[in-house]
Structures are given as structure tokens and as C-alpha cells.
Subunit: 405 residues, 5 copies
Amino acid sequence: MARNMSYMIIFISVFGLCLSSKSTLINLTTAVFNDYDPSIRPYCQGHEQVNVTMDLAVRQLIDMNEPDQIIKLNLWIRLRWIDCLLTWTPSDYDNITDLIVPFDKVWTPDITIYDSVSEELYGLEKFRANVSYDGAINYNFPTVIEIQCQVDVTNFPFDRQMCPLQFGSWIYTGNLLDMNIENDHADLSALKENVEWEISKVPAEKHIKKYSLSSDPFVDLTYNLYLKRKPRYYEANIILPSIIITLLATLGFLLPVDSGEKVSLEVTVMLSLTVFQLLVADRLPPSDEARPLLGEFFTFTLILCGLSTFVQVAVINIYYRGDRKMSGWMNKLILKPLAKITLTKATLLNQKAHDDDNTTNDDSVDDLDNATKWQTLSICIDRVGLILFIVILTIGCIVIFTHFT
Amino acid sequence: MARNMSYMIIFISVFGLCLSSKSTLINLTTAVFNDYDPSIRPYCQGHEQVNVTMDLAVRQLIDMNEPDQIIKLNLWIRLRWIDCLLTWTPSDYDNITDLIVPFDKVWTPDITIYDSVSEELYGLEKFRANVSYDGAINYNFPTVIEIQCQVDVTNFPFDRQMCPLQFGSWIYTGNLLDMNIENDHADLSALKENVEWEISKVPAEKHIKKYSLSSDPFVDLTYNLYLKRKPRYYEANIILPSIIITLLATLGFLLPVDSGEKVSLEVTVMLSLTVFQLLVADRLPPSDEARPLLGEFFTFTLILCGLSTFVQVAVINIYYRGDRKMSGWMNKLILKPLAKITLTKATLLNQKAHDDDNTTNDDSVDDLDNATKWQTLSICIDRVGLILFIVILTIGCIVIFTHFT
Amino acid sequence: MARNMSYMIIFISVFGLCLSSKSTLINLTTAVFNDYDPSIRPYCQGHEQVNVTMDLAVRQLIDMNEPDQIIKLNLWIRLRWIDCLLTWTPSDYDNITDLIVPFDKVWTPDITIYDSVSEELYGLEKFRANVSYDGAINYNFPTVIEIQCQVDVTNFPFDRQMCPLQFGSWIYTGNLLDMNIENDHADLSALKENVEWEISKVPAEKHIKKYSLSSDPFVDLTYNLYLKRKPRYYEANIILPSIIITLLATLGFLLPVDSGEKVSLEVTVMLSLTVFQLLVADRLPPSDEARPLLGEFFTFTLILCGLSTFVQVAVINIYYRGDRKMSGWMNKLILKPLAKITLTKATLLNQKAHDDDNTTNDDSVDDLDNATKWQTLSICIDRVGLILFIVILTIGCIVIFTHFT
Amino acid sequence: MARNMSYMIIFISVFGLCLSSKSTLINLTTAVFNDYDPSIRPYCQGHEQVNVTMDLAVRQLIDMNEPDQIIKLNLWIRLRWIDCLLTWTPSDYDNITDLIVPFDKVWTPDITIYDSVSEELYGLEKFRANVSYDGAINYNFPTVIEIQCQVDVTNFPFDRQMCPLQFGSWIYTGNLLDMNIENDHADLSALKENVEWEISKVPAEKHIKKYSLSSDPFVDLTYNLYLKRKPRYYEANIILPSIIITLLATLGFLLPVDSGEKVSLEVTVMLSLTVFQLLVADRLPPSDEARPLLGEFFTFTLILCGLSTFVQVAVINIYYRGDRKMSGWMNKLILKPLAKITLTKATLLNQKAHDDDNTTNDDSVDDLDNATKWQTLSICIDRVGLILFIVILTIGCIVIFTHFT
Amino acid sequence: MARNMSYMIIFISVFGLCLSSKSTLINLTTAVFNDYDPSIRPYCQGHEQVNVTMDLAVRQLIDMNEPDQIIKLNLWIRLRWIDCLLTWTPSDYDNITDLIVPFDKVWTPDITIYDSVSEELYGLEKFRANVSYDGAINYNFPTVIEIQCQVDVTNFPFDRQMCPLQFGSWIYTGNLLDMNIENDHADLSALKENVEWEISKVPAEKHIKKYSLSSDPFVDLTYNLYLKRKPRYYEANIILPSIIITLLATLGFLLPVDSGEKVSLEVTVMLSLTVFQLLVADRLPPSDEARPLLGEFFTFTLILCGLSTFVQVAVINIYYRGDRKMSGWMNKLILKPLAKITLTKATLLNQKAHDDDNTTNDDSVDDLDNATKWQTLSICIDRVGLILFIVILTIGCIVIFTHFT
């Protein structure tokens, strides 16, 4: 029997890495992990279900890529569970109550983040776990996640977003592995501020779902990341320039035809608006449901400028009509009322008066020669266009911007 | 003999990780995987062929890169097969019916996705498998695939695409490993909607092919992903602006020569169209067979604008011809009929009438001085150009857009 | 001795993974790989040299990046060799003739692709090999390679390219490892067509080279990938627009000076050509030897337009010279002949005739006032410029485009 | 007993890799690492706490990506600690005092860099450690880190930045693992200069923090990287061109209305400024708190140019008013004082004098015809605009640039 | 004893992988590597220092990224050293003199490339080593390196660069591991030419440095890669167009004011130059010390064009001054001398003579009306401007381009 024992000792000493007196830590580790298989879920009498408690600290929002709708975050994840197989009596081992071991020495829950577009929870398998003598395991690790998050850009650049971060065990059902939230909200105390986005709150929720595949419930924890964009950058670089450019379009109506720059001003403004529209479009996802109101604004001003260019070409055309005869009805029904409305009559009368003081005011337009009539008409149309342009622009802006919430 | 046994026990206890009474799960795992080699295909009497059933859930379309023709998808793949070597009697082991083990502990089929441009089925080797007592293995895993998918952009942005996702065992012939579809269609219940593409349906097919290499059949499962683009983004950002710009080209004909902006308007429009064409071309693959109709439209309008620029330069040239004599035949055969057609005669007559009321209408054009004749001719050509431009543009648009299906 | 045997059995059973009766496949695997070291080249009496036969199937050309001269291909590589150490008698093992084992269980040749810019033959170590009872090993795997390929863009976009794919063992000399081609040409039967490039043929060659390092021969197999670009995309998006824009430059000569748009038209055309040149340059490698003829064409038209702008500025300058006296010799030696050549004389005579019918035709130019003389001169220069421009452009185009092969 | 010994020897010889006489180094390694577990923290009597001393050498700043606020550095990290379990007597082993072993043979502290956006301390596990006979371990390794660093771009391109590099053990509390700084400052002796940034100093600090999670202190070492941008590139490529373009805007006021280029000059300048603003904005993070003063400058000039365009359209409008009567009050209250202020009166008088020498200077303006009055007014407004533009521009520039620190 | 031996044999046979008679290669491998630890430096009596000889073959320059100053190379590295522990007598083993084994079976020097921006010597651990019976180990491998290389762009695009590739052992001091160069120069016989860069020579140097850390010497081998840019691409696409555009600026002085295109030509040229400057700036690093002379040229021409625009606005202003009186001193001191210098006088005299033949030449300018005087002045200034512009441009170009070395 002694011999058998001696063999046993030899073997144990060889395989168990020598229970020498050198280090209590090594003895403890050897004893605790002696017949432990990290690939098997801890399962003991009275501990049929593993209970994982999770806490999340948001360290920083690294990047929000709107066109691809991908958000990149630096998170600190804290997991805690009881492994009933890893216990010891501290008094037997120099009162050591905690053991720090590499990740792959203990069983770990297969926590996954849903909708990741790159690796699954990078870092989950790189750190070390803290094992307590009562079997409590703390496993904290920093990770960088990239997930898709539907971006609603309707109110861009005054938008708020909500990205759900959904964590769950991939293979274990709720019966085998239950998850719980440590705190109602993710820990934002270590948050480093992002320059573009403000993280307003990150409430956590626990969901228990049943998929069609199996009758067992699946548990997931969802942290809803509420974001609010800081708009100052876009106000200064996109909104302000585009408003200034749109206002330039009104100048087209004020430019006299003689200046020879009416059309080129209008066309330049239109092209600038198109470029701005493309610039904004490039920064945003090609979404169907949620077009940014800013985009609607650009489309609206683009059409408006197109129409005003058309009007100004007509104005120029009329201006250069020379002394072809203006038909009577046009004179009566269009030129006269228009002149009245746009106060052009008064100005012309002044001029008239200057030339010839004894004419009556009422018939003044009739007495003009044809060329002057056409030019007066063109000025009238310009003024009507200007007024209409400003009115429609104002109404349009009000309609569009009252949709901002 | 007893001694030998004792040796044996020692060895087994050392290598088999102590069949202690601590955990039934560990006992079970040890027993089941005792002489199991995960690199060898399960092969038992009556189970010569492994039968893999596959189901696919599409989680989300992450990205569709048209120029490179690469589609990126987040899929959930569910595999099921019988491993006849991994069975046990639940009653012997506390009625445990399922065992969850890391991927590399069991044999797995070498399912590959064809035409991947990056890693082969990322994630295939990262998750855990569920082993039932009767040998049924469920292996579900999420994966992100990137495959090439031929994009037919003829109808862009109103196009529909079809991308086949072809799965198959790389090395095993159909005799050794058979694959079957779980459901006729991929599971779209967990689908998160994409902003640009609508996934209309994903029917599955099973193919059995014989390659020239071997007489054995090869099985593959193909899921055809049918996609439909949501066009609103492109309508607002490309089609609408380009239509507005094309319409601006017609204004060139309406501008009087005196305005001095005819040519610069036309050239600006042409350059804008070129820029738009390049923008659209950048977003689409340099395909030979399938040119987008939108591209044909841009090419068509580009040529049309080029021609109209040519016409307008001619108009300006004629307008400024001064009082060189117009040859009689030109007056008779070109100016007169053109003036009639374009109603320019009437206007000129009106003007004429104003100057000199007693001339007859018929010969009016002949009596004009040369400068006026040339100017009249230029106006006529402008009008003819305008009409032709509108007619050709309309016909062209109809011809092109009736090809949209 | 019996005891020794019993020990042996114990050991073998422990290390050899139990030769149980459960699965013939496992028994076979155990027996075959019992004393096999996958890191050692198979070496038996009469098999001193390993003979690797290679076949290549091109699945698809994923991407051709011209500026960086990198080509990305999806290939299927099929290797076959005899491993004299892996043989068995099928009748001993249920007539199993083939064994499928993971890559790392057998020795594999270290086939490398030369000039890879990323990983060496990605996928070479991820698949499973098929071992036959006679030692024949088939190892097929799909791979994505990225290699540098010198692109000759002289004829862009009508160019043809040839990329050699060179495969060889890195360490083994031809004495130890010989390579052979299975077929004269790579297998194109599974090819998926690329939208931009047509793969015309892929002939294979075997090379035996001696490097300076050693007297031993090194074997490599080279597959020459012959590609032909499908030009339609570039025809529509680059060549057509640039031809239209170049033609616009001729319009500058036709525009009368009075229009006030001569110079701005010319400058706009020049800038557009510059932009097009940069666009084309961005798509092509900054090559020294092989400049694209298209680039030469752009450079040529750029210089031509620069010269014509210069001419037109001169024309405008002369036109506005007012009534400074034109020196007699200029009148005689330049104005008169030019007017004759460009038929300007005739037109002027017509005009003259209109004013004053009794002058003689010959001296007409002399009788004009100075301002008219200068203007006539400017018109003459414009016409000469136009003719020269068209002539040089035509000659240039012919010279450049006849270099296309 | 001898037999037992013989067994032991056999076992040891088998597992301990034969203590042959071939190499003292191998004997030493075997002896030292015989019962060492690299996953367990070194723990001996009197060495309860591991003391890690760290030194940092900055090799080069690879890249500073301002828009994403990510800095990429090449660092050399030098760690030193005592492993009480790895000691030997040099005299027993040929006086070998140092042993160089791969990283994974010894326990290493889990030093992490906080806020990394990619891998955790790439290279930490790739190099070899130097073990001294007294247990001192030196572990030096080069690494490339990418961390987020808040960039304050207020003074761009004359800005200074500070990026903290925070190193710490992830799992071990300060009680188990203490960290200390080797030197007050990071070693800059091996620094390779960056072309854009100057590293002025890198002082180190030791922090001891208590997180809410536990009562134990956590130690981190923070190296503050102080950077100073070298501005010459931006001065030449952004600031100089934008100043030149802004100055062009003043030319608009100097251009006479007759030139017909007033508005197009102004609009071109505005568009150029917008393009420059977008270019600068693209290079900088979309920050809310810290807008670059350069951006403020662009916004300011943009608004100023917008206003000046408005003024010039008004000037043109007034210029072309023709001979409509100017009301008396306008003449008196606006034209006259303006003319006086802008010295326009004098010039006009000169002109007047030229025509008619006997008029008195005071009433000169009243005697002009209406058209001339309007034109005089437009010139006056132009001059006032020019003066105001220069004054406001100067004040604005002073206000903005005095904020540079 | 026999029994002990029998045990031993059993053990050895089990662990040593059966010294069967099947393959001499396997026997040899087993014997040679029996008690070899690849993690320990080869150390024998008389071989205290390992001597590594290195040779480098440059296969191709894959990419030179100037803005980030990163160079990517495909290298073939050839290492040779003696491992005194790996020797055998060929005659004992079928005269096998060489053994090819995977990399991780033998000890290898930890050769590192300094200043790598990505992985450390990718490929160093992927290939197979050749072991000779006398212990000589040849380890050749292809690798792709990416290192930072300071680019001096002063002479761009006629620049030459020098990139040092520094190789060294990371941990071993010169006492333990010595490195030597095989050849004075890197092997360029297998070089594939790069389209943009010519590799002129790659001399090698051996350095022995002492760092502050330790008194031991550290050895490194440095290969200096001398590069010469092939400039034709940049000549055609950047230098030629920018010269043509700069020359266009001179045309502004030649354009008469009446053409109405003077300012717009000048502004267009300036914007084009700005765009070109930005294009060139984007391709080059934002370096402080070494600004490209091409950049200086653009800055110079930009300022020159800005000044000339100013001059031309002044010219236009003077031209349209109308008939305001020109003060006598201006006439005498400015107009007259300028007219003389620029030969304007003569032309004006001619004109004068035409009107009125009896005036004397001397006082001609005085007799002109004011409007003509102003216009004459504007023409004079234009001419002076043209001459100054050409002179300054010529001097500037000479000064700048003589700095090219």
C-alpha cells in the first residue's frame, strides 16, 4: 500500500506541479483548480442555475458614424457570478481570500453583444478574473464595441438618438443562466466627454424573450444609450453659410437688368445650394423614412431658386423686348395693376413728372413709349418676384422648422 | 492484478480529471468525451452519412457597397446534426439531457460560404455547442459575412438586387455529409430594418452539383437574398437637382443675346451635369453590361446641352453680324419660313406697324435693314432651338424612362 | 513480462486515445497517425522527393486597384501529393479508403505566393485534407490573394494587362520538392464574371531557377492572368464628356467679341480639362514609363486651349484698339492677305457694297476707317485661329490615337 | 527505495526534459522554472506586494488625427519587478546571472493603457524577459498605441495639446501590486522628430484612486504628453490664401459699376471662403466647446462679405436708377453729407468745374441732373461701404486674434 | 535493472514518438530535438555568443505614403547562425545533411525592425528553418514591413529620399548575440521595379550603441534605402497645368477694360492656383522644416496674382473715371513719364495725328480731354503692370528653382 501511495505522490507531484512549501498561492491554486474543467458550467446541488450580475460603465463614445449608422464605444463591463466549484477555507491558506487567475482558467459566461459589426466583445478573453474563497468571481474588462444603431436624422443637427446595447448569453437559456442588472443605470462616473455628443442617460432593462426555436426563455440586458448632439459645429459650418447663400438669391431680384449679372448670380447660388445639399447628404445615412428637415429645406430652396431664375430670365427677356407694341389688354390687365401693387407707378410718375409736369397721374403708363412700357413691366415683375420669393421662403422656413421638435 | 488495477485507476484519475463526486456535469463530460476525437467525422454503424440541417436568420444588412459590389450581412446560422458517438443515458447522470461545450470539443462540419471576400464564416469557431443525450448537436452562431454580389444597376435608383448566399461543406462530398434546409425561407423575424434596402424575401434552395474533379456529388444550400432599394434619398439628392439643372439649360434659349449671359449659363449647366454624372458614376460599379439608365440620361442631356451651346454661339454670332448684306436666298429660304414658323413674323410686324403703319404684311421682312434681318434670324433660330430642345428632351426622357421596369 | 505488457497497454491506451471498438474511423486515424510527425517532410525509400501537383481555379477577380497596382483575386487552389507514411489497407478498416483530417495533422508543402502585399496565402491552414489509403493527399482550399501587378496603362481605357501569379515552395529546393502543373491553363469553369475586367486566359508555366544563394534549383509555377478591360464605363463617363468639353473650346473662336464671353468660355474649358486630367490621373498609377495616351491627349488639349486663349485675348485687344492708325505695312502684309485667306474680304465687301455701291473690290480694305480695319483684323485672326485650332486638334488626335494598339 | 528513486528519476527525466550535461543554460532554466506557474502572482514571505517600476521612452508620434481625436504613438515601455520565486545561485551555474526567456514563461503584471481605441498594449505579449539571479525581471517592449486625446483646437493652427497616457494594472489593487515611476519624465533621448508636432515635455505622475467598486486603492501612472503644433504648413496653405481672398472682397467696392463684375467678384469670394471654411472644418473635430478661432474668423468674414454683397447690389441698383427724380430730403439728408464725408463732392465739383466754371461749390450737387445724382449717391455708398468694410474687418480681426494665447 | 531499462524504453518510446524504422528523417528529428528547448539561447562551451549573419533582398517597394511618411516594402530577409546544440553525424542517418523544421522548433534570434508602425516583422514566425548537421541554421523569410521614414519634400517632385531600415535584437546585448552583415549592400537582383520610385542603392552598416539603460553594447544593422522619384507623372499633371494657369494671369493685363472680363479672369486664375496648392499640399506631409519649393512657388504666384488683381481693379477704376479733371501734377509726373516708358505715347500720337495732323508731338497728352487722359493712364498702368508681373515672375521662378539641387 505504501508503494502505491508513493506512486501516487510521484504522479501527483509531477502533474500537480509540486505542492512545495515555496508559495502558499501556488498550493492554493493547485488545490482549487485540481479537477476543474473551465469548459463546463459550474453545477452543484442547489446551484443548478448560474446567476450573472452585470454592470456597465461607459468610458467614452469614440465615434458615431452617421452614414453607416455605426457607433463605437469604449465600455467597462463588470460581471459577477458564483462558481460553486471554486471555494476554499481561507484559514487553510494563510488567510488568502482572493485568487487572481487568467481568464481561461475559469468557466465564464458567453456574454455576447447583439448587432456587433465587428468582433464579438473584443477583450472578453484577455483579462484576469478575481476568484473569492466563497466562489464569487468578479470579471471586469474594458472593451471597444462597434454596433449598428438606427439613426433618426429628421432633426439633424438638433437630433437626439437612442442606441440599445443588448447583452445576453448566446447559448445558455434563462433556466441555466440568469442575468441581472447591478444598477438601474450604466455607471457614467468615469465618462470622458465626447466633443460632438452628450450622453444624457443610459437606463438598463432586463428582457426575457422566447424565440421560436425553443420553449426556453432567453434573458438579455439592454442598456439604452440616449445621445444628444451638440449642434454648434453644424450651425457654424453648414446652416449659417447655407442661409447666407439662400439670402443671396433674393439679391438677384434687386439687381438691375443692365448690370448683366442677374442670371449668373442666380445660377451660382443654385449650384452652391446643390453642393451644400450633397455635402449634408454625404454626412447622413441614405435613409428613406427619416429625411433630415435640413435636406427638405435645401430641396425647397433649390426649387424656389430654380423658379426665381426662370422669373428673372423672363424679366430680362421682357426688358430687352425693344419697341414692339404692347397689346392693349396686357397694358390694362397686367402692367397697370402690377405697377400699382408694386408702387412702380409712383416712381415712374415721378420720372414722368420730371420730363413733363402737366400729365395726369392716372393715364401715365398709357402714354409711355413701348420700350419703356416693357421695361416698366420687367421691373414690376422683378418686384412681384422679390415679394413672392420672400413670402414663400418665409412660409416654407416656418413650415419646415416648426417640425423640429 | 489488483496492483495493475490500482495503477490504472491512478492513471485514469490523473488523465481523466478525477471522476470525483463533486459535479455530475464534469463526470458526464469526462465520460462522454473520453475517447472522442473532434477531428474525426462521427461514423457509426448505420450512420455512415452525417446529416446537417441548416437554418438561417438574417439579422441585418450592414452595408451594400455598390462600386465594389460587396454586401455585408449580419446572419444567425443554426446548424443541427447527429453525432452518434456523443450519447448517454440521462438517468445515469441526474437526468441531465443537454451538455454545453466549447466548439472545439466536438466535430463540426466545415461549412463554408462561397465567394467571401474576407474571412471564411467569421465566428464559426468561437461559440459553444449544445449536445443532447441522443447525440443531436445544435450549433448556432452569429456571423458577419462579406461576399461579392453582382449588382445590376440598370434601374438605379429604382433597382432590385438578388444576392445568392451559397453555403456548403468544402471537403466532404454528398456521400459523407448531406445538407438540408430547415425552412423554405430564411428566418426574417429578428430582422432589423436597413435604411436603404428592403429585404423582400430570402428563399432557400438545395443544389447537388458534380464538379469535374470527382464523380462524387457536392451539396450546397443557397439562400437568395432579394433586395429592393428605397429610392427617396436619391430622388431628393440626385434626380431632382439634375432635372432642375437640365431645365435651366432651356433658359439659355430664352435669354436675349443682349444680356451677355447666354453662353456662360449654358457652359455652367454643362459642367454641373458633368459633375453630377461623375458623382453618380462614383457610387456605382464600372459595369459594362449594365449601365444605369440614369447615366444614359446624363450622357443624353450632356450631348443635348453641347449641341444647344453650339446653337447659341451661332445665334450670338448672327446677332452681332451688323449690317452685312444678307443674300436673297437666305432671306427667302431661311429667314422667312423660320419667322413664320416661330411666329417671329407677327411680333416683328407689330413692331414694324408701330413705326410705319401702311406697309403690307407679306413683304415686311424684306424691307428691314440688314442688321435687323440678322437679329430677326438669330431670334428665329433661338426659338427653333428652344422648341427642338424641348421636343428632343421630352422624347429622350420618355425613351429612357420607359426602360425602367 | 506480462506485467510490462500490461504497463505498455496502459500507456498506449492512455496516450493513443483508447483503441476502442466504437468507431472504425477513430481506430484507423489512431493507427495511421500513431507515429507521424506533421512537421517532417514524408521521406521513404524510393520517395526521396515529394511531388506536388497543383491546379488553380479562378473564382473571381474581386478588385483591381490601378493606382496602387494591387489585384485581389478569389482563387481555389488544389494540391495533390503522395505522403508515403500515411498508408493503410482498406480491407482492414471496413473498406474505408479516404480519411478527412484537419490541415495540421499532415505535413503540407509550404506553398507561397510571391509578391503578396498582405498575408501569405490566407486560408492555407484553415481547411481539411483528404488522405487516401495509398498515401495520396488532396488538399484543396479557397483563398483570397492580394498581389502587386505592374499595370501598363498606356492604352487606358482600352488596355490589356498581364499579372503573373507565381507559386512556389519557400524552403524546399527542387531536389526535395518538385512541383507540377495539373493542367496547361487555370480552370475558369467556376469563374464569376467581373463587371470591369474580362479574364481572357490563364496559361500556366513551370520555371526552374537557380538563385545566387545556393546551387540547388528552385521550382515555381506561374499562372499568367491575362485581363482585358471593358471600356464602356470610361467611354461614357470620361472620354465622351472630355471630347464635348474640348469641342466647346472651338466655340470660343466663333463667339463675337461683343458678346463679352470669349475669354470666360475659354478659361472655363481649360479648368474643366484640368479637372478631368486630375480625375483620370487619380485613377491611374503615377507611372513613369507608361503614361496613358489619354493623359497625353489631355496635356495636348490643355496646351492647345492655353494657346487659343492667348489668341483670343489678342483678338479682343485688337478689336478694341479704336481708331489708332494702322501702319501701312500691317495693312498690306497682314490684314489684306489674311482677309483674303479667311474670306473675310468678301463679307466686308458685301457690307461695303451695301453702304457704297460704286467702290472697286480690290482696294476696299484700304478705304475703311482705322477702327473697322482693326476689327476686321481681329475677325481675320479669329478665323485663322479657328482653322488652325481644328487642324492641330485633328492632327494631334490622329497622332495620339493611332498609338492605341 | 532505490526503485522508487529510479522511478522518480525516470519521471523527472521525462518531464523535466533531461537534465543532461549538454547545456548549463538548459539545466538552469529547468531548475528555475520547475514548479513555477506563470499565471500566479509571485508571492513569498515578505513579498506580499509586487512592486513594478515603469519607464517610458517616446520613440515617435506616428499620427495625430484631429477630427477623430486619436493619437498614435510608438513607445518603448520598460517594466521592472522582483519575482521572488525565480532566484538561483550563479556560482552553481557557470556564473550565469541572467536568463532570457519568452514572455509567457514568467508572470507579468497586467499593465493596461486606459482609453485605447484599438488593441490593449499591442506587443505586451510578444517579447522576451530578462530574469536576474536575484529575481529581478526586466521586461522592455516596443508598442504602438492609439488612444483618444481631447484636442482643444481654439488656437488652431497655433495650438498646444496635452494628452495623458494613463497606465495601470487592470485587476490588481494597490495592495497587491504597486507601481512606481522610474524617472520624473519620459525618456525623450531616442525620440524621432515629427514633422507637424513638437513634443515639448512628458512629465509623469503617480495617482492612487479609489473607485466606487471597492475599498482598495488603484494605482495608475500618467504620462502627460505636451505637444506644440508647428504652424508653417497651415500658415502657407490655409491662412495666407484665405487672407488674400478676403482682401479681394474689398476690391468689390473699388470696381466701378460699369465694369459689370462687381457682384460676380463678391459672390466668387464668398464661395471661396465657404470652401475654405469647409476645408478647415474637415480637418478639425466637430467640437462644441472649443471652436477654432480660425473658424470664427471665417464665419465673421463670410457674414461681412454677405453684407458687402448686399451693399453692392444696392449700389448697382441706385446707379442704374436713371433719371427718376430724387426726393429733396434724400438729396439733402443723405447725398450731401455722404458726398462730403467721402470727398466725393470734391471730385464731382472738379468735374462740374470742368464743364461750367462759374458755379458756386456749395450748391453744386443740387444742380446736377437726376441720373448723375443717383450715380453720385451710388459712388458715395460704395466709398462708405469700403471704409466700413475695412474698419469692421480690422476690428473683427483684432478682436478674434487677440484671443490667441 | 533490466526492468528499469524496460520502463525507460517504454517511456521513451511513448514520449519520443516511437523510434520506428519507418523513416530515418523522423528518427533524426527525434534524436536531434530530444532534449532541446527552443526558448533557450544555444549556449555551449566555446559558443557563449551567438553570431547572426543577416542578408536583405529588396523585392519591391509597395507604397510610399508621403503625407503620413510611411513606406511599405516587400523584403526577403535571410538569417544564418550556428546552434551548437543541433548537430549530428550525417553518416548515422542515411547521409542526411539538412533538416527542415517549422520555425517554432528551433531557437531564433528576436530580430526586430525599429520604427515599425504596424506588426513587428510580419512573417518572422511563419516559415521553416533549414538546420545543417553542423548546427548551421538558415532562416529565410519574406516579409512586408511598414515603417516611418522622414520625407524631405523640398525638391518635390524632383526629390531623393533616404529611409534607414534598422534591424536589431531587442533583448540580447552584443555580448550574447552579435549581428553581422552578409554583404555590403542589400541584394537588389530580385527587385521588381516600382513605377514611381527608383531604388538607387541600399548600403548596409553595422552600429554598436550603448544606451543609458545598461553598460552592455547593443548591435544593430542599418540598411539605408536610397530612393529617387521619377517625376514625369507630376510634371504632366501638376507642374505643366499650374504653369499654364499662371501664364493665363498675364493675359489679364492684355485684356482691354471694355471686354468686361479682366477681373473675372484674374479671380479665376487665383482660385485655380489655390486649388492646385491644396492638391499638392494634400499629397505631402505637413512638414515644418522642409516646405516643398513647389509650394513656395504656388504661394509666390498667389501673392503675385493677388497684387495684379489689385492693379487691374485700379486700372478699371481709372478707366471709368469719366471726365473728371486730372490734376496737373498727375498729368505731368505720372501720366507723361508712364506714357513715354510704355510707348503708349506713340500710339496715342498716331491716333491724335489721325484726328488732327498739325499738333506738335511733345504736348500731345496735355491737349487730350480728361476722359481720354484717364483711359490713357489706365492703359499705361496696365502695361507697366504687365512688365512688372513678367519681370517679378521671372525673377521669382529663377530664385525658387535655383534652389532645386
